[in-house]
């Protein structure tokens, strides 16, 4: 087989075009994230970084946005109404310094709620998001007792008007899902983070803890951060700065 000059140029031109386009295609694919038919993988570990110094006292924007996004409604009964995020105020007894910050499900690497669940309803997804499978939850509330962060709520009353992406019903346990529907959609943020940014505080940052190039990793590298109750060695996905 012989190849003339024109043919050679044609083939090499095509090869250059393919090699030039292929990396570009890959970049688009990475930016858009996972396709709907692809399963989650441990390549990602989703988490939050909460800067307590930026969290404003008395502001409940994150809680309101979370409950609006996920259709979490109560019945004006604070003792039993579900709460996915709580604003916790802590005070240093020696100095009297007070600060408040949001506490939600910490999406632990070793979640105690998963350990105690008798039915496997409480589980951790491959990308680190801890969820309740309400199809198998029997409402025993062991997970609520096991969670050191008081992150889970039991739905005591009949629910109506749920959001399509956030089913919730009486007799099951629920907690922060890290806006899993938004994560799967590729939004790369959560309702609480958006609301906090809108208020101008930017105290909540969502991101991939496994990606060295992500904003969350960069900020974790710059300043010291802590987990809540690091002594429990749960390796939480939610980290705090300025606590």
């Amino acid at each position: 087989m012989t190849i003339n000059r024109r043919g050679f140029l044609g083939i090499s031109g095509a090869a250059i075009a393919v090699s030039a386009v292929a990396p570009g295609l890959r970049l688009i694919e990475l930016a858009e994230g996972r396709a709907p038919d692809q399963a989650v993988t441990p390549k990602q570990r989703w988490g939050l970084l909460i800067d307590a110094a930026k969290c404003a006292d008395g502001c409940t924007a994150c809680i309101d946005a979370c409950h609006e996004e996920n259709g979490v409604t109560g019945n004006n009964r604070p003792a039993t109404d579900p709460q996915w995020i709580r604003k916790v105020t802590v005070e240093d007894n020696t100095t009297g310094f007070r600060q408040s910050f949001p506490v939600m499900c910490q999406h632990c690497e070793h979640p105690p709620c998963v350990d105690v669940c008798p039915t496997g309803a409480s589980f951790k997804r491959a990308d680190g998001i801890v969820l309740v499978d309400k199809h198998t939850c029997i409402g025993c509330r062991y997970c609520m007792m096991a969670c050191p962060y008081k992150a889970r709520s039991f739905i005591h009353e009949v629910t109506t008007g749920q959001k399509t992406h956030a089913p919730r019903g009486k007799g099951t346990v629920e907690s922060c899902t890290l806006c899993v529907h938004k994560v799967d959609r590729g939004d790369n943020t959560t309702a609480c983070a958006v609301a906090c940014k809108k208020e101008g505080h930017e105290a909540i940052l969502f991101g991939d803890l496994n990606d060295p190039g992500s904003e969350i990793r960069k900020r974790l590298k710059q300043k010291p951060s802590t987990q809540l109750r690091p002594d429990l060695k749960l390796n939480t996905g939610v980290r705090y700065q300025g606590v």
Binding site: R34, P36, Q38, A39, R125, D133, Q162, T164, R185
Partner: protein
Amino acid sequence: MKRFTVGVFAGLFALSAAYAAEPAKTTRMPAPSIQINKDRGEQCVEPTEEMRRNHMNYILHQRDETMHRGIRTTKHSLKNCINCHANPKTGSVLGKDGFCASCHHYAAVKIDCFECHTDRAEKKAAIPAGRPRQALAPVIRTALGQPRQRHQP
């Protein structure tokens, strides 16, 4: 006495008339009123016969895939069922003319999907622009991998 006898006969006549009229008024459960939302297309995601018998298996399979593995394809999702089958008037699959409720009531099979899931179609659930109404291929593969001919009405 005569008046009493006439009364008894009149009563019996009335009763028999009522009894004779009874079969015309059926005592059976009314057949489910399945109202298909025509502007969503003529075909379901699987052949009609297949869906009638096995819809629960498709939903159950998809449920675990979505919940545990984050697979969010819409073909067999409950959300997709509701968006297509919600009654155009009420926007719901429940109620007297609801697609799910009327048939399940008829078959006396309790569904508890809607203890947690909403029974309403999404507000923005419009057909994406550029998608033809009958975009589905006439022959599709079932979960078992066997090609099946679509049920032609």
